[in-house]
C-alpha cells in the first residue's frame, strides 16, 4: 500500500513540476488564459445563434401548431422545429403588381436573397481583383506617373465608411423619373437619365463593393509584386521567353496566393455587408435579416446561421491554401531592384485614367458630402443652374435653437446638436476601448503563437482569434445581439466593446504574428539567458523593435471601429454611436445631417491616418483589410 502511495505522490509531484514548468513560461500562461477567454467570446455567441433557430420566439408563439407535435422539451426548455419547417416547407402569398402570387417562404426569404448575396460577392471579387490587381501591377512594376499620389488615394474608398460610395452613387445617378426623389448630379449637369438597373440592384452593389474592396487586392497583390525578386522574371527573360509568357507563367502564379486571399476576404466581407445593398436597394441575406419581421425571429437566425456557414467554408478554404502559400518564397533579398516595364505613350493615358477614377472614388464623395450639407433639399443640385443665392443654406450646421419648421424636425444644427456630439463621444469610447483591447490581446497572441510555433494549442488559439475575421460582420453582429440580449447587456457600451474587440483581434494578431515571425527567437533568448524578466523583455526589446506593426495592430481596430455600422447596428439604440445615429437621420430624411456626419467621420479618419502615419510610419496599408 505504501509503495502505491509513494508512487502516487511522486507521480503527482512530477505532474505538478511539469505544469509549473509549462506555466512559468509567460507565453504558455497567456495562451492558456486567452485560449479559454476567446473560446467563450467567439464560440459561445455563435452557438447562441444556432440555439436561437430552435427556440420558441414570442412573435411566432401563436403560429405554433401544437397538435403537429413540433414542440419538444430538451435542455430544460421548450424547443421547436417550427422555424426550420416553416421556412423550408410553407408558402406565402405576396402581391406582385396586381397579381397575387404564392411562393414558398424559403424562396422569398432565403433563396432569392442568398442568390443575390452570392452573386454580388462573386462579382465584387472579380471587380476588386481586376481593378486592384491591375492597379497594383501598374504601380509596382511599370513607370506609371503620379505613383505616390495614386497609391495613397487608391485606398481612400477602403478607409472611408462603406456606404460613402453607395450614397455617392445615388447622388450621382438617381433621378426623380427613374428612382423617385431628387434629381442627381448626372441629371442636373448632363440631363442624363440612367436606367434603373444602373441605379439600383445587383450592378451598382457589385461595382461599389468592388471599388470598396479593391484596396485589399492592391495591398495584398501589390505587396508581392513589390517584394518579388526581379531575378525570377529576369531568369525567364534571359531564356528568351516572350514577355506575355513570362507574365502568365512566372509572374501570375507567384501572385496567385495573394489573389486567393483577396477572393476569400472580399467574398466574406461582401457577403456580410449591410449598408451598400441597403442604400442601393438590393435584397441580400443581410438586408433580409434586418428586414425580417419580429414574428419570424427564429427564421432570421437561420439566415444568420447560413451566413456563418459561408464564413466557416471560407475559413476552411483559407486553411487549405495557406499551407500551400508558404511554398512561394518571393522575397529572397538578393536582388534589390525590380525592373519596371516601360509603358511608352500609354503611361500618360493610364495615369490620367486612374487619376480620374480615383477622383470619383476618393475625392468626389468628400466634396459631395460637403455640398450636401449646404443644400436646402436633399440631392437638389439646382444651385448649379440657378446660382448659390437661395439654393444653398447653412441652416443644417448653425441652427442653434429648437425649430420644427424649416425642415429641421426639431433638430438643432450639427454644430449645436448635443445628440450628435454625444454619439461621436460614444463612437470614440467604443473605438478607443476596442483598439486597446483588441490591440493588446492581438499583439499578445501574435507574440505567444510565434513563440510556440509547433504547439497545437497555440494553433488553436490563433485560429480562434482568426475566426471572426472571415465571419460576415452581420453574422457576428447577430451572434452578439442574441448573446447580449440573453445576458442582459443589450444596448450597452460593454456589448459594443465586446463585439468590436472579438471582431478586430484578428487585425492585431495577424500583423503582430507576421512581424514576430520575422523576429529571430535569439533576440529574446539573448535576454532570457541574462535573466531579464518577461515584462522588461517585452517593454525594452520586443515592443521597441516591432513598434510599427504593433501600432498598426492598435490603429486598424480604431479606424475600423470609427466607421463600423454593420457589426454594431443590431447591438444598440440609434443614438448611442455615430454610425447608427447616421442611419437614424437617413430614415428621418435628414440627409444633410447624415452627410455632415459622414463628412466629419471621413475627415477625422483621414486625419488620424495621416497623423499616425507621419508620427510612427505605421499605416493602414501595412496591415490587412477589414470590412465594415
Amino acid at each position: 500500500m505504501t509503495t502505491v502511495a509513494v508512487n502516487r505522490s511522486g507521480g503527482f509531484r512530477r505532474f505538478w513540476n511539469k505544469v509549473w514548468t509549462y506555466l512559468s513560461k509567460p507565453q504558455n500562461a497567456i495562451l492558456l488564459i486567452l485560449g479559454i477567454i476567446l473560446t467563450v467570446t467567439t464560440i459561445y455567441p455563435l452557438l447562441t445563434i444556432a440555439r436561437d433557430t430552435v427556440v420558441v420566439h414570442p412573435g411566432s408563439i401563436d403560429n405554433l401548431p401544437d397538435a403537429q407535435g413540433s414542440k419538444f422539451e430538451a435542455f430544460g426548455t421548450t424547443l421547436t422545429t417550427y422555424n426550420w419547417s416553416n421556412l423550408f416547407t410553407e408558402s406565402i402569398t405576396t402581391r406582385v403588381g396586381r397579381q397575387r402570387v404564392t411562393q414558398s417562404v424559403a424562396s422569398v426569404y432565403l433563396w432569392s436573397p442568398l442568390l443575390n448575396s452570392v452573386l454580388v460577392s462573386i462579382f465584387a471579387c472579380f471587380g476588386a481583383i481586376l481593378y486592384g490587381g491591375v492597379f497594383a501591377y501598374l504601380v509596382t512594376r511599370t513607370n506609371l506617373k503620379f505613383k505616390k499620389y495614386l497609391s495613397s488615394i487608391f485606398i481612400f474608398p477602403y478607409i472611408m465608411p462603406q456606404w460613402t460610395l453607395a450614397v455617392m452613387w445615388q447622388n450621382l445617378f438617381n433621378s426623380n423619373a427613374v428612382t423617385g426623389g431628387s434629381d442627381g448630379l448626372f441629371v442636373t449637369l448632363f440631363n442624363a437619365y440612367m436606367p434603373k438597373w444602373w441605379c439600383e440592384g445587383i450592378f451598382p452593389v457589385s461595382v461599389v463593393l468592388a471599388i470598396h474592396y479593391a484596396p485589399f487586392a492592391y495591398i495584398l497583390i501589390g505587396g508581392i509584386f513589390r517584394n518579388m525578386d526581379a531575378n525570377l522574371e529576369e531568369a525567364a527573360t534571359i531564356l528568351n521567353t516572350p514577355r506575355w509568357k513570362t507574365f502568365l507563367r512566372v509572374t501570375l502564379p507567384l501572385v496567385k496566393p495573394a489573389i486567393l486571399s483577396t477572393v476569400l476576404l472580399v467574398f466574406s466581407s461582401a457577403m456580410g455587408s449591410y449598408p451598400i445593398p441597403h442604400y442601393l436597394k438590393l435584397n441580400t441575406l443581410s438586408t433580409q435579416y434586418v428586414g425580417m419581421s419580429s414574428d419570424r425571429a427564429g427564421e432570421a437566425s437561420i439566415l444568420a446561421v447560413i451566413m456563418m456557414l459561408f464564413g466557416f467554408l471560407i475559413l476552411i478554404v483559407n486553411q487549405r491554401t495557406t499551407s500551400g502559400r508558404k511554398n512561394f518564397t518571393t522575397v529572397t533579398g538578393k536582388s534589390g531592384q525590380s525592373s519596371t516595364v516601360n509603358l511608352g505613350a500609354a503611361k500618360y493615358v493610364l495615369s490620367i485614367l486612374f487619376v480620374l477614377l480615383t477622383l470619383f472614388t476618393g475625392i468626389l464623395p468628400i466634396i459631395l458630402f460637403a455640398v450636401e450639407t449646404f443644400l436646402p433639399n436633399p440631392g437638389d443640385f439646382s444651385f448649379i443652374k440657378y446660382g448659390i443665392n437661395g439654393h444653398m443654406t447653412t441652416k443644417w450646421w448653425i441652427t442653434s435653437e429648437n425649430v420644427t419648421e424649416n425642415g429641421m424636425y426639431g433638430q438643432k444644427g450639427i454644430l449645436y446638436n448635443a445628440d450628435i456630439w454625444k454619439a461621436f463621444g460614444g463612437t470614440f469610447l467604443v473605438a478607443i476601448c476596442c483598439a486597446l483591447l483588441a490591440g493588446t490581446i492581438g499583439t499578445l497572441i501574435g507574440y505567444c503563437v510565434s513563440k510556440n510555433r509547433r504547439s497545437k494549442w497555440a494553433a488553436y488559439v490563433n485560429n480562434m482569434a482568426f475566426l471572426p475575421y472571415l465571419m460576415p460582420s452581420l453574422a457576428v453582429g447577430v451572434a452578439f445581439f442574441i448573446f447580449g440580449s440573453g445576458v442582459g447587456i443589450y444596448n450597452t457600451f460593454l456589448l459594443l466593446i465586446l463585439a468590436g474587440t472579438v471582431k478586430y483581434i484578428p487585425f492585431a494578431s495577424r500583423s503582430a504574428l507576421n512581424s514576430m515571425m520575422q523576429l529571430s527567437g535569439e533576440i529574446e533568448e539573448a535576454a532570457i539567458i541574462q535573466d531579464i524578466p518577461w515584462w522588461k523583455r517585452m517593454s525594452r526589446i520586443i515592443i521597441p523593435i516591432q513598434k510599427t506593426s504593433i501600432i498598426s495592430g492598435f490603429l486598424l481596430p480604431f479606424m475600423t471601429c470609427l466607421r463600423e455600422l454593420t457589426l454594431f447596428m443590431l447591438l444598440c439604440g440609434q443614438g448611442m454611436i455615430i454610425t447608427t445615429m447616421l442611419g437614424y437621420f437617413d430614415e428621418m430624411g435628414l440627409y444633410a445631417f447624415s452627410s455632415g456626419i459622414n463628412l466629419i467621420l471621413i475627415v477625422l479618419i483621414l486625419l488620424f491616418n495621416t497623423l499616425v502615419n507621419k508620427l510612427t510610419g505605421a499605416s493602414i496599408d501595412s496591415g490587412i483589410g477589414s470590412d465594415s
Partner: protein, 441 residues
C-alpha cells in the same frame, strides 16, 4: 566548478530523433566543441544544456545542480541556469546602443553579496548574506569598460548594432555575454558569419579568452578545422548519435569509424577498399588499389574474431534500446567516399574479409622508389604546401607535400605510404579495427 553532465538525453519530434540518447561529461574549464554536419543535433544539444530547448527525456546537471530531469519533472528555465550564450547571428538588440546592449543584462542583476573589483570584475559571494542589491551605475560602467576593452570595442559604445560591421557586432556580442561573468559559456557557430581572415583572428582571441576567463566553454561548429584548433575535447555527432568524444588529436589519429575519419581532416583522408585476412603474426595481408599487395601491421595487437564479437555486441545493444517511437531518421552505415576517376559502383555485400584502409594525405609520400605507380591528376600549390591528387589506375589518392613544388599534370610519379598513422576499418560495420602501418609490396 562548472562541470556539465548529460545522462541519456534524448530530444525527438515525433519519430525524428534530433539527439539520440546522449551521454556527455564536460569537465570544468574545458573547451568542448560539438562538431558534426548541419542538422546532426549539435545546436539542439547546446540549446538543451542552456535551457532554451526542452529535452524529451534525460537528465542534465550543471555545476552539480540538476537543471533538467525528465523523471523528476525538473526543468530549470534558461534564465536561472546562469550561463552565457553567444548566438550565431549575434542577436544584438537593434534598438539599443552598444553600451546599452552590454549594460542591459547587468542592470538586472539583483543578489546578495555582490561586489565589483576596481578592474571591473563581478565578484559574487551569495553566502556573505546581506540584502540583495543591484549594481550601481558606476559599477556597471566599470564592468562594461572592462569587457569592452577585452574585445576592443571602446570606440563604438554609442553606436547602434546596425552601424557596425559583422566583426564588430560579433565583438559586442562577446562583450555582452562576458559582462555578467558566466561560469559556462555556450557558443553557437559564433564565427560562421565572418570572413575567413577575421575568423582566424577571432579564433585565436577566443582561445585567449578561454584562458583568461577560466570558464567552461561549449562551442558548436560544423567546421572541423575550428574544432581541431580550439577544443580541448571534440564531441562528434552524426544523426543525433555521439560518434566520438576525445581530444582533437585522438579524434584525428584514432577515428572511431569511417564517418569520423572522413569528417575530420582537410584534405580528407584517403579511403581504399581492401580484401584479405589476418595472419598468424597478427598482421593483415591485404589486396588494395586493384592489384597491389599490402601488409597492415597493427600498432597494438588485435584479434579479428574477438573484435567482431565485441563490435556486434555493442551494435546489438544500440539496436535493442527501447524507444517510445520508431526512429524515422534511421541510422544508416556511413557511405565512405572512395575517390575514383570513373565511378564504379560496388554493390557487393561486404563480408568479414572486407576492410577499408584509411591513409591521411600527409602519409602519402611522393618518392622515386615508391612501390605504387601513378600520375599527377591535379596539383594545387598554396605556397606553404601543395595538395596533389594522384591517379593510381582508376583510383585517386590525395597527398600533401610541404613547400611550393610545381607538378606537371600527367607527370609519372611513384608513391609510398609512410608513418604509423594508417587506419584499418571493418567494411561490415565501418568501425575502427586498428591503427598501424601499411606497407605495399
Amino acid at each position: 566548478m562548472a562541470r556539465i553532465e548529460l545522462t541519456h538525453v534524448t530530444k525527438r519530434w515525433g519519430g525524428f530523433y534530433a539527439v539520440d540518447d546522449l551521454d556527455l561529461l564536460i569537465e570544468d574549464n574545458a573547451f568542448v566543441t560539438l562538431l558534426g554536419p548541419s542538422g546532426c543535433g549539435k545546436t539542439t544539444t547546446l540549446r538543451m544544456i542552456a535551457g532554451l530547448e526542452t529535452p524529451t527525456t534525460g537528465k542534465i546537471t550543471i555545476d552539480g545542480v540538476t537543471v533538467f530531469d525528465s523523471d523528476a519533472g525538473i526543468n530549470v528555465p534558461a534564465n536561472k541556469r546562469r550561463v552565457g550564450f553567444l548566438f550565431q547571428n549575434y542577436a544584438l538588440w537593434p534598438n539599443m546602443t552598444v553600451f546599452q546592449n552590454i549594460a542591459f543584462g547587468l542592470s538586472n542583476i539583483k543578489e546578495p553579496g555582490l561586489s565589483v573589483t576596481p578592474e571591473g570584475e563581478i565578484v559574487r559571494n551569495p553566502d556573505a548574506g546581506g540584502t540583495p542589491r543591484k549594481l550601481t551605475k558606476e559599477e556597471i560602467k566599470s564592468i562594461v569598460a572592462r569587457v569592452s576593452a577585452i574585445v576592443k570595442i571602446q570606440p563604438f559604445m554609442d553606436r547602434y548594432p546596425g552601424e557596425l560591421s559583422g566583426g564588430q557586432q560579433q565583438r559586442v556580442a562577446i562583450a555582452r555575454t562576458l559582462a555578467p561573468g558566466p561560469k559556462v559559456l555556450f557558443m553557437d557557430e559564433p564565427l560562421s558569419n565572418l570572413d575567413a581572415k577575421l575568423r582566424l583572428e577571432m579564433r585565436s582571441e577566443l582561445q585567449r579568452l578561454h584562458l583568461s576567463t577560466g570558464s567552461t566553454f561549449v562551442y558548436v561548429t560544423h567546421d572541423q578545422m575550428e574544432a581541431m584548433t580550439l577544443a580541448t575535447k571534440i564531441c562528434l555527432i552524426s544523426n543525433g548519435v555521439l560518434q566520438q568524444y576525445d581530444a582533437p588529436l585522438t579524434v584525428y589519429n584514432r577515428p572511431s569509424n569511417t564517418f569520423v575519419a572522413d569528417f575530420v581532416g582537410n584534405p580528407a583522408i584517403n579511403f581504399m577498399n581492401a580484401r584479405g585476412s589476418q595472419q598468424a603474426d597478427g598482421s593483415f595481408s591485404l589486396r588494395l588499389l586493384e592489384n597491389y599487395d599490402a601488409v597492415f601491421t597493427p600498432a597494438e595487437p588485435v584479434q579479428t574474431e574477438s573484435w567482431y564479437a565485441q563490435a556486434e555486441k555493442e551494435i546489438a545493444e544500440f539496436d535493442a534500446k527501447v524507444r517510445p517511437a520508431e526512429k524515422t531518421n534511421k541510422d544508416v552505415p556511413f557511405n565512405y567516399p572512395i575517390a575514383m576517376v570513373n565511378d564504379v559502383p560496388d554493390s557487393r555485400e561486404p563480408d568479414r574479409e572486407d576492410w577499408v584502409v584509411g591513409v591521411r594525405p600527409e602519409f602519402v609520400h611522393i618518392c622515386e622508389d615508391g612501390p605504387i605507380e601513378g600520375e599527377v591528376f591535379s596539383a594545387m600549390p598554396t605556397g606553404m604546401e601543395t595538395t596533389v591528387r594522384i591517379r593510381v589506375g582508376n583510383f585517386l589518392l590525395t597527398s600533401v607535400v610541404f613547400g611550393g613544388i610545381t607538378y606537371r599534370i600527367g607527370e609519372k610519379i611513384r608513391i609510398r605510404f609512410t608513418g604509423s598513422g594508417a587506419t584499418l576499418f571493418s567494411r561490415v560495420n565501418g568501425r575502427l579495427v586498428a591503427t598501424g602501418t601499411v606497407e605495399v609490396k
